[in-house]
Symmetry: C2
Subunit: 281 residues, 2 copies
């Protein structure tokens, strides 16, 4: 990828801050403009070297950008994309990093100014931490990014967005926004709900009696609550389906335990172990 | 704790091996006898310095021991404790490291030879790894061990077993075997089942699209399947109760998501985050 002169990042939290750090470390942008609402986050992003300039004014921030990456919470992505498309120079490439895709793409679709180039993205990176202080230049190295072109989109734009993520060290996969949402409901949103429910289900007085198993299984429950409410609401249909499937599976495990069917229990645990071992680390 | 002349460890996997390493590193035993069924495990334990002598004959192995620690899978603990009590010198202290307690204590109760001293234990340490190759001298440092005396037991024996675990760096809490089983059903067995079910619920073709959230939440599913079938079966009643409670909670989360009740969803996620943050790491 040819280095950009100016990249604008809207939202300089963990993801936005890490993009800035990676761009600068890899010399992929001369200027990185950090755009945000809170002066404290902008200052933190500036201090850690993730951005070279900051502003709270989106239109001004994107005015010179050839690439804009919107890294706000999902509920604000669509409006930020539209604002960026109206404020950026004609031909600027715009993408985002939201954890859901269909509602964003639908809200943007047909409302972009003529000549605007937007393709959605979702880097499968991050975790329970948040904020620019947690940003890391290597956050995307070896990680999967899902790029979600629409049927109406241009292949060259999809390629340009893919090239951007690859330049940060990520692996890129493309799928439709709807397919993306169906997949992450299973691989990310359901695990989050289950982890949070497990943590919530543990009586306060037993917390000191938890060990590595509980710690790992519930870790993501520490994630930002507001961000997650938005994500789950935006992907409600697929998450409800994943929850229903998971509930059925739990019922069959319960039945095996209840009836003392050790063979069935062993079979179910073996299926879980096989999938987990296949992923590694 | 005064160092022991000879400690016998029955079962030299992750837990037994780690006890041996810790005893030797802290100079708490002159001789550590490793007792096991498989020559390969005994050799591995010997090679890593966890034991000073090995044998596949339990009676011979415990013949000189002042302390015997039974670290076999839970189904074999009671019979190993009884065999150790019959083979060890009179007055030898015996404990175990099984993940369930009531079924073990009940199987041992009233069948011990006169003068035998047994108090059950459960170190909340370990994880998804197993075998002597994963053993570490610091496995118990700062970890919680639950010691489970019976009403009929002697306080001095409970103190001696507690002193042993504290000498390995652990913190010790005592509770009844039944209370222990109720607690770990919630803090350990339920999370294991949920993690394994989540891993099993993920279609094979989506495994490459998992990220840190899925990895953490499902990590324990890699644990030894046979060990876990035994644990779950031995604690069936409490695990079924924990499963039922968890199912109810998941239903209420599902209802909140279904009805678009964001406030309720936020409240539930907040409860999970509060508990998870209270534990740390």
């Amino acid at each position: 990828m040819k280095p950009y002169h100016t990249v604008a990042i809207v939202g300089v939290g963990l993801i936005g801050g890490s993009i800035g750090l990676a761009l600068r470390k890899r010399k992929l942008a001369r200027h990185v403009v950090g755009i945000g609402r809170r002066a404290s986050s902008l200052m933190a992003a500036s201090r850690c070297g993730a951005v070279t300039r900051t502003t709270r004014n989106l239109s001004q921030g994107v005015a010179d950008a050839q690439l804009v990456v919107v890294c706000t919470p999902v509920d604000s992505v669509a409006s930020a994309v539209l604002a960026a498309a109206n404020g950026a120079p004609s031909g600027a490439l715009i993408t985002d990093a939201g954890s859901t895709k269909l509602s964003i793409v639908e809200a943007v679709d047909g409302r972009l100014p003529r000549g605007a180039r937007f393709v959605g993205s979702h880097p499968l990176a991050g975790g329970e931490q948040s904020g620019p202080a947690a940003a890391r230049a290597d956050l995307f190295e070896g990680r999967q990014v899902i790029v979600t072109p629409t049927a109406a989109g241009k292949l060259s734009d999809t390629r340009a967005v893919s090239a951007f993520w690859k330049a940060l060290g990520a692996r890129v996969l493309t799928m439709s926004p709807g397919e993306h949402d169906r997949v992450v409901a299973v691989t990310s949103h359901l695990p989050h709900l289950v982890a949070a429910a497990l943590a919530a289900a543990t009586p306060r007085e037993l917390l000191k009696l938890t060990a590595a198993g509980w710690h790992d299984t519930t870790r993501v429950a520490s994630g930002d609550v507001r961000l997650w409410v938005e994500i789950l609401r935006n992907n409600r249909g697929h998450v409800l389906k994943a929850l229903a499937e998971f509930g059925k599976l739990m019922d069959s495990w319960t039945a095996a335990l209840e009836s003392g069917d050790d063979q069935r229990l062993e079979q179910l645990l073996t299926e879980g172990k096989r999938n987990r071992d296949a992923v590694g680390n």
